[in-house]
């Protein structure tokens, strides 16, 4: 049995320890917001947070996250959820939308560590996530917007 903590809920699952977290989330827990893109940690579509760190769930065995807190797009931390999702809508970021949960998870992890990233820091923090529709210019704008609105919210 493997014990998983996902979005604040504990699950006891009868799965082999080497099962990839991505497929356990998608197929066992029906959390399909986390996407399969490459299976090799190359595209970022499967990004989740493990103890706050952006993590590629497609190459992470469930045994590696036992005793840790896993957060998916469905349970994205409230502090960044609102400004990020609002910014994503205000800039009309999504096109096909498939990579966007992973993009949001990467953006949230970036802003948690660095609430006011420079353009170069946004580029560095987001370049592990591929978007074939080419929403990159809007992702840049949305992260700047989320950073600004969160700063205003904090009264900075």
């Amino acid at each position: 049995m493997i014990t998983l903590n996902v979005n604040g809920q504990t699950h006891e699952l009868d799965i082999p320890p080497d099962a990839p977290l991505l497929w356990v989330l998608r197929e066992k827990l029906q959390l399909t917001g986390t996407k399969f893109g490459c299976g090799q940690s190359l595209c970022g579509a499967c990004t989740v947070h493990v103890d706050g760190e952006a993590t590629r769930s497609c190459v992470t065995a469930v045994s590696e996250v036992e005793g840790k807190k896993v957060v998916t797009v469905e349970g994205l931390v409230p502090r960044w959820m609102d400004p990020l999702k609002e910014a994503w809508l205000a800039e009309e970021v999504p096109q096909c939308g498939y990579c966007q949960p992973g993009q949001l998870m990467a953006a949230a992890a970036l802003l948690v560590k660095n609430p006011e990233p420079s353009d170069a820091e946004i580029d560095a923090g987001m370049s592990g996530n591929i978007c074939r529709c080419g929403t990159y210019p809007r992702i840049r704008k949305a992260i700047r917007r989320a950073s600004r609105s969160a700063a205003e919210g904090r009264g900075v």
Partner: protein, 726 residues
């Protein structure tokens, strides 16, 4: 001026009362024939399916017959109906259409999303639906109030009678409206009165996409569903000789292993188990003639083929004589590789097969063709097959497969599985699965007169036909060649008196397909690079030469001027940097782009800025046009800088994003999009942003360091080699 549409001429509108009260309005457009023989051969059944439902509570549900793959049709299509209906946009909902003739493309005659045609082909049709429904709502209100129809008006989901101050919501009027006759003639609004069209309304699909709740094909769950992966031949055209499945069957979670026409399917409780099972398979393939193929070999063969004349697709003046007489001539060869679509969502398909029905859930662009192919594979009638179109995690053409490969295969797997099944392609399967943008070779000759003015242009193209073997094959027979192979080259707009364009269409075992912008994806690069070469050879400014040769093409000129102006054409740049320009007309739209690049001593290119001007006629949703131009530019840059599939011994060497790289955020330039205001009919935006960008970048590289690279992608070693040559 408002237009008037006579519905009686060729269309039937069907009204009926909705279950639970309300108005359902259908609209039947018989296939206009010609393009697809298969569609014409089918009985034209009048399906009373609806384009819109108005519920008693006033909610307007608009059925969208186009697949949402990022291009914004789940917003632009309902806007066309809501505009004429005078709906309250905040009460508009959408629903994907099932497969039915009523939803056939007004030009192509089957249900398909492609060719950048959604808005242009629905522009009149959907506005007519909205206008007819509005007229019926008004008629119902007028009857109720016993006032003349002419005294009532509709606005924001209400019909009102200003004279008496009365008004009723669409919901309250819907049932009465359903009893009204469908008007034989409707008046469409004067564009000056548009309230929705021309505005960047919030996209209706964005909230679900941001929440992670949008359902793509790969997210579909069915009770008792199994998951399968398929081991497909390593070489195109190879056949299965034998296989051993004992080890695969022993993998925990694997339910069964089955031979199907496309390979060997491993059916399991989940994807990961299926993948593990597949690794344990031992398969012996009969590789066949495909095993001799290499992309280098193909290039050599195409080069040799180009020594002989091909099928002439355009001939004006006498290019041969003019070239022979020209005081100055240029010759150049251009090469473009096979490309995969590489949509973010790998191919997948869910099938639930029963004795007398087949339900399919998938992100497809090609519903009618898929339904018919699935019926054939399942041994059912087309009407027994239902397709639920989910969101598409990118399409780029791959999800409109002429053979319905990923759908048909899933039907075969479902047959073997005896349970609902989801077939998932790994990224490697997707990259190596064929149906590529063809490998292209072009040979160009240009002639200049004493003053350096182009007087002759000869363009020979070699590459596989995309349309042959598809439902659109008839067009090839009718024209004598595949028009999509030469599109963008054949219609060279420049005023050159002697032009010849000819084509060779060799066949190969590698399956090819439309890839965002189809033939324009190679001709945009080739034509606009070679024109640049001619300009530089004659000592002309590439912008001014284009401008001069486009005196009779005002729409081309307008985007060219706009891009040049906004892109700072002619302004100085530091050493190692350059600016390049390209212009291309495709899918009815005109796009010009100015790219600014920096090239380092290792030949690495950094694209810093792309300025884009577009004229796509009347703009329905400005932000979508901007988004599609940005999207096309990023997609095109991936192919410009990185995209290349390599065949060796019939095998595709590339497999995933590490060896088939695509543009990432840090490599993305600043992109500026400028829209030309126009009252012309709307034209395409999904694809036209792609064709010019490779040439704009290649021309900028030449301007920066004098390296003329004629082979895509523009790899650093190719830049260095070209620089060395110059």
């Amino acid at each position: 001026m408002s237009e008037s549409v006579d519905i009686r001429r060729r269309e039937f509108l069907l009204a009926s009362a909705a279950v639970g009260g309300g108005l359902v309005l259908g609209f039947y457009l018989p296939p206009r024939g010609g393009v697809i023989a298969a569609a014409a051969a089918e009985p034209a059944s009048v399906t009373p399916s609806a384009w819109l439902r108005i519920a008693a509570d006033g909610t307007v549900t608009i059925i969208v017959a186009k697949s949402e793959m990022g291009q914004g049709v789940y917003t632009s299509m309902p806007m066309l109906i809501a505009e004429e209906l005078e709906a309250d946009w905040s009460r508009v909902r959408i629903e994907p259409a099932p497969v039915a003739d009523v939803y056939n493309h007004t030009v192509f005659g089957v249900m398909v999303t492609g060719g950048s045609t959604s808005v242009s082909s629905s522009w009149e049709q959907l506005r007519t639906v909205g206008a007819a429904a509005k007229q019926m709502l008004i008629a119902a209100a007028a009857k109720k109030w016993e006032v003349p129809v002419s005294e009532c008006r509709a606005r924001e989901g209400l019909v009102s009678h200003p004279g008496s101050g009365r008004s009723l919501g669409f919901g309250a009027l819907a049932e009465g409206a359903a009893g009204e006759p469908v008007p034989p003639v409707v008046a469409l609004k004067d564009p000056g009165d548009f309230r929705l069209i021309g505005r960047s309304l919030p996209r209706l699909d964005s909230p679900a996409k941001v929440a992670g709740t949008a359902v793509f094909g790969i997210d579909v769950q069915r009770p008792g569903m199994l998951v399968a992966v398929v081991s497909r031949p390593p070489v195109f055209g190879a056949r299965l000789k034998s296989f051993k499945s004992e080890a695969a069957r022993k993998v925990s979670g694997v339910r069964s292993v089955a031979q199907i026409p496309s390979g060997v399917a491993v059916i399991a409780e989940g994807y990961w188990q299926a993948l593990k099972g597949r690794k344990a398979l031992e398969i012996d393939w009969e590789e066949g003639e495909g095993a001799a193929l290499s992309s280098e070999g193909l290039r050599e063969a195409y080069r040799a083929l180009a020594e002989t004349p091909g099928t002439v697709t355009r001939s004006e003046g006498d290019a041969g004589a003019a070239l022979a007489a020209a005081p100055r001539t240029l010759v150049a060869e251009y090469d473009l590789p096979y490309l995969a679509h590489a949509a973010m969502e790998p191919l997948n398909c869910v099938v639930e097969l029963k004795d007398d029905s087949c339900e399919i859930w998938t992100g497809t662009q090609f519903q009618t063709v898929d339904r018919n192919a699935a019926a054939k594979a399942a041994g059912l009638k087309p009407e027994q097959v239902q397709i639920h179109t989910t969101y598409l995690g990118g399409g780029f053409g791959r999800r409109a497969n002429p053979a319905s490969d990923f759908v048909v295969e899933a039907v075969h797997v479902a047959r073997a599985a005896r349970a609902p099944v989801k077939v998932i392609w790994s990224r490697e399967d997707d990259t190596r699965g064929g149906w590529y943008r063809p490998l292209w070779y072009s040979r160009l000759q240009g002639g200049l007169d004493e003053g350096g003015t182009p007087v002759a242009w000869s363009h020979r193209i070699v590459g596989q036909s995309i349309l042959s073997g598809t439902p659109f094959e008839q067009a090839v027979a009718a024209q004598g060649f595949d028009g999509t192979s030469v599109e963008g080259a054949m219609e060279l707009p420049y005023a050159i008196p002697n032009i010849r364009v000819d084509l060779h269409s060799p066949t190969q075992v590698v399956p090819v397909q439309w890839w965002r912008s189809v033939g324009h994806s190679h001709t945009g690069f080739v034509v606009e690079s070679f024109l640049d070469e001619m300009a530089h050879a004659a000592g002309h400014d590439p912008y001014r030469l284009r401008r001069r040769l486009l005196a009779d093409h005002p729409r081309h000129r307008r985007v060219l001027d706009l891009a040049a102006e906004k892109g700072g054409w002619g302004e100085k740049l530091p050493p190692g940097k350059g600016r390049g320009l390209a212009l291309h007309h495709s899918f009815g739209s005109y796009v010009a782009q100015v790219a600014e690049v920096a090239v380092d001593e290792k030949g690495r290119i950094r694209v810093e800025r792309v300025v884009c001007a577009v004229d796509c006629g009347r703009v329905v949703h400005p932000d979508t046009v901007r988004a599609q131009m940005e999207s096309g530019i990023v997609f095109g840059l991936s192919a410009t800088l990185f995209g290349e599939l390599t065949l060796e011994k019939g095998r595709v060497l590339e497999s995933n994003f590490h060896d088939y790289p695509v543009l990432r955020l840090e490599e993305t330039p600043v992109i500026e999009v400028h829209l030309v205001e126009s009252s012309e009919k709307p034209t395409g935006v999904g694809e036209p942003g792609v064709p010019p960008v490779a040439a704009a970048v290649a021309n900028a590289v030449f301007a920066a360091v004098g390296a003329r690279v004629r082979r895509l992608p523009l790899l650093p070693e190719r830049v260095l080699a070209a620089r060395h040559r110059s």
